[in-house]
């Protein structure tokens, strides 16, 4: 296997709690790990001018996005003593209350996972060409802006 080839980070639709639980389970054979830190992005039912967001539909410049995820991954492994790192991002429709981003880092020690996770999540928000269309209950929409 060529480690340099970017993996596909995208998953169609929401990321389920079963998938996350199962991913945690798989790390129980790695007994050098002492600390995991997990970030989950969840779709908010924001109210804008009296209308409630019911779905975010994600699109991405997929090739560039997977390359950026790969760069973020390589740079995080260089900066931090991580045992494992996993990133999953939704494409397509994700309902309010469902999970659209799952970032999972593991290390022998806790201080490292805190620093690494925040670094990775901020880099994803800043550098990865993913676009969220916030669809209201009446089918109108606006484009999500990260803050």
């Amino acid at each position: 296997m060529n480690n340099k080839k970017p993996k596909n980070v995208f998953k169609e639709g929401a990321i389920t709690s079963e998938f996350i639980g199962n991913s945690i389970y798989k790390h129980q054979t790695k007994t050098s790990i002492g600390a995991h830190n997990i970030f989950l992005g969840q779709v908010r039912a924001d109210i804008v001018d009296g209308k409630t967001v019911s779905v975010i539909e994600y699109t991405a410049y997929e090739d560039m996005a997977n390359n950026k995820f790969h760069e973020i991954r390589e740079s995080a492994f260089e900066k931090f003593d991580l045992t494992c790192m996993h990133i999953y991002h939704s494409l397509g429709k994700v309902n309010a209350g469902e999970i659209c981003l799952f970032v999972f880092v593991s290390s022998p020690r806790r201080k490292i996972v805190f620093e690494a996770l925040e670094y990775i999540v901020e880099a994803i928000k800043a550098d990865v060409p993913v676009f969220g269309k916030e669809i209201f209950e009446d089918e109108t929409h606006q484009w999500k802006q990260n803050t």
Binding site: Y58, D63, H89, V121, I124, K125, V128, K133, N146
Partner: protein, 77 residues
């Protein structure tokens, strides 16, 4: 030269397509943008970045013929 241009998010709403081929005779990114502004005047009011060969480029960057993309603000996560 013939360029393949990709549009995303609210930019694709203005161009009404996700990708197109454009015949381009200029040299740099800002000249390409002038071509696109004259074709899609609403683009002028939009915030976007340009990627060439999947890397963000500025207006003075030479167009090499690789894939170009117009990217609205990122909003992953």
């Amino acid at each position: 030269m013939n360029l393949n241009i990709k549009y995303f998010g609210q930019i694709a709403e203005i161009t009404n397509q996700n990708e197109e081929s454009i015949e381009f005779s200029g040299l740099i990114v800002s000249e390409l943008l002038d071509v696109l502004y004259s074709k899609y005047s609403d683009l002028k009011n939009k915030d976007f970045q340009v990627a060439q060969n999947q890397e963000l480029v500025l207006g003075d960057k030479e167009i090499t013929g690789s894939e170009i993309a117009l990217l609205p603000p990122f909003s992953g996560g």
